[in-house]
Symmetry: none
Subunit: 204 residues, 4 copies
Amino acid sequence: MPTKKKPQVTAAAPARRRELLDTAAEVFAEQGYNATTVRKIADHAGMLAGSLYYHFDSKESMLEEILRTFLDELWDGYDTVLEAGTGPRETLEALVTESFREIDRHRAAVAIYQKESKQLVAQERFAFLAESQRRFEKAWLSTLERGVAERVFRADLDVRLTYRFVRDTVWVAASWYRPGGQHSPEEIARQYLSMVLDGIAVRA
Amino acid sequence: MPTKKKPQVTAAAPARRRELLDTAAEVFAEQGYNATTVRKIADHAGMLAGSLYYHFDSKESMLEEILRTFLDELWDGYDTVLEAGTGPRETLEALVTESFREIDRHRAAVAIYQKESKQLVAQERFAFLAESQRRFEKAWLSTLERGVAERVFRADLDVRLTYRFVRDTVWVAASWYRPGGQHSPEEIARQYLSMVLDGIAVRA
Amino acid sequence: MPTKKKPQVTAAAPARRRELLDTAAEVFAEQGYNATTVRKIADHAGMLAGSLYYHFDSKESMLEEILRTFLDELWDGYDTVLEAGTGPRETLEALVTESFREIDRHRAAVAIYQKESKQLVAQERFAFLAESQRRFEKAWLSTLERGVAERVFRADLDVRLTYRFVRDTVWVAASWYRPGGQHSPEEIARQYLSMVLDGIAVRA
Amino acid sequence: MPTKKKPQVTAAAPARRRELLDTAAEVFAEQGYNATTVRKIADHAGMLAGSLYYHFDSKESMLEEILRTFLDELWDGYDTVLEAGTGPRETLEALVTESFREIDRHRAAVAIYQKESKQLVAQERFAFLAESQRRFEKAWLSTLERGVAERVFRADLDVRLTYRFVRDTVWVAASWYRPGGQHSPEEIARQYLSMVLDGIAVRA
DNA sequence: AATGAATGAGATTTCATTCAT
DNA sequence: GATGAATGAAATCTCATTCAT
């Protein structure tokens, strides 16, 4: 087997990479991407800062891989939901539940995404975030619009505002959610859906 | 040349200070505190980086002053609401409306607060953030609990979860809100309250 | 005078820049570009490594400016010679003499150019070196060709080989030439021309 | 596991060593010694960076061996020429021809020698370069001086300047020469000698 | 009030080299 | 003989901050 160059970007030895990326994601989520030094990541991984560069090209490439991996899995889940062809209310419920499951599985990545993506999209390298945002918006908006058309969701709301409301409502949870706590993701999803769909006021 | 240097802590020329702090807040909000260099702030203000130090002790002191000013005004508003002694639903409506007014007035500061406060509270200097968070939580929680007790809000909800839901729901709006847009803060507050209180589903 | 940004690339304060560039060129020439650390340059300039970045964007940008400045001046001289419309022998003599004068004035830059340009041209940023090389080749080749046509230069030589011979013959001198030595540039030019034109063998 | 590690200094498996050194020389010549990473050499050789250390002690020892091998062969050729006891013109012609043959055989090594030796001589390890330079200078100078004494070369030339002229004139050719091109080394030597001995001007 | 120049600490990155397997 | 992972030293660069003018 001749000349291969760069072991890094190749998904050659995925085990150690994954470990290190999980570590990095944890630190990024906790301290913020900019405030996280490569040394801190290395400390957490029990190695020297320079050693990380055997596995990754740069701090930024770690961030990219963390976000890409997360979004790939997220869309796997979402696509399954969207292709199921269920009614708008069931679709919305499934999307919310799926979102909380992703928060459960990728808490760190979600927190990073929430905090950093607005800054990152401007960079060419992170253009895939914008693409994901577009698909995201389309999925939610069309579900809401179908729901309004089918009189399942209230027609007197501004749809874009409602979209933002639902979207944010779900994802900010990543900032306080701790996996393994007293609530399972499905339980939290159920409560959130109850609030979003029926409100917190007592029905007249 | 008598006495000391550095007139900054002196409240002299408060107009220029305010201008500069607004500029700084804008840049902090747009790029993130860590990613914002003193040079960028100075560029926006039409001066050189070093010149800012005539007005402020440090980058951190700018951040502190921005957040303190915002929280002081926020609590002026909240305290008025809380001391009015209205019923839980009216109090909640007033708090949400007041919050959107603050977002309107201090959009940059709110965005900074949302993004950075979690990291900052750990520092002695920003302990006032923790204090504010405690008062905040108390205000909302007690309003919700009063509402549940008075059967104005649903009893079947996890109150802490509901608190986070309402809190996040309101404040994340700062990440997309643009003052002077098509919706006034009061209008947005009304729509949000409608969703939060009554849900987005059509009533059976 | 409002917002100006970046004092560096702007030719704002040319005095200190020039000093620092001269220092840098000296070190680059002596130790080679790659082997020269920014710290060494700073040491020679009596400042700290980081301080250089107030004046220049990067080590590479120093190199670029050194080479550009040199080539600009070189072409000022060459163009004057080429536009004089003299015969091929006089043109060649003038070009050689001008070259030794440039070596005298920009010894460091010439040495750097000689040693590094082959590696550098591959980079986008140093594409201007390729452009200069093309003009260079054209100037010398056409002079030689005119000379052959006018029977001033021998016709039995391979013109491209002759071009390389003459070109290298002149410029490698930069690797050993020391300004202020016993020979003036004009004197060296005269000797070189004597060898190049008439050879070192005794005439039959 | 008895005795030591590292069999490299042992002359075992000299074929692979030679191959690897040729590869290394090629890369050193193309990119410069400092700019060449051990990884690049390994890439070209189809192995990983660390694997090179089975064969060699260090990057520097590769360089040393490349230059030593080249100079050993060079001096074999030169000594034969110098001991032949021919007249100064024939000696000079033979030295130049031999030089072009060496460029043909060791193009990479010659290019490295040209570019790096000035920096290297300062190091103890490369003191042999200085020794070679002294012998080199002596060989050429004495040949030129004999030529002047025997009225074969012009007496009106500065001998040291002429020495540098001839030396540079020959060796820089390594920077553009490509083996297997249209000119054989002997052909190029003949043309160079024609220029050096008789000049490029038409004889009056 | 502001500029221009510098400092100094620390960040990211590079890379020759080592070594257990 | 070669790989994969790591080390550790050093290099480039960034940036908040200082200070004489």
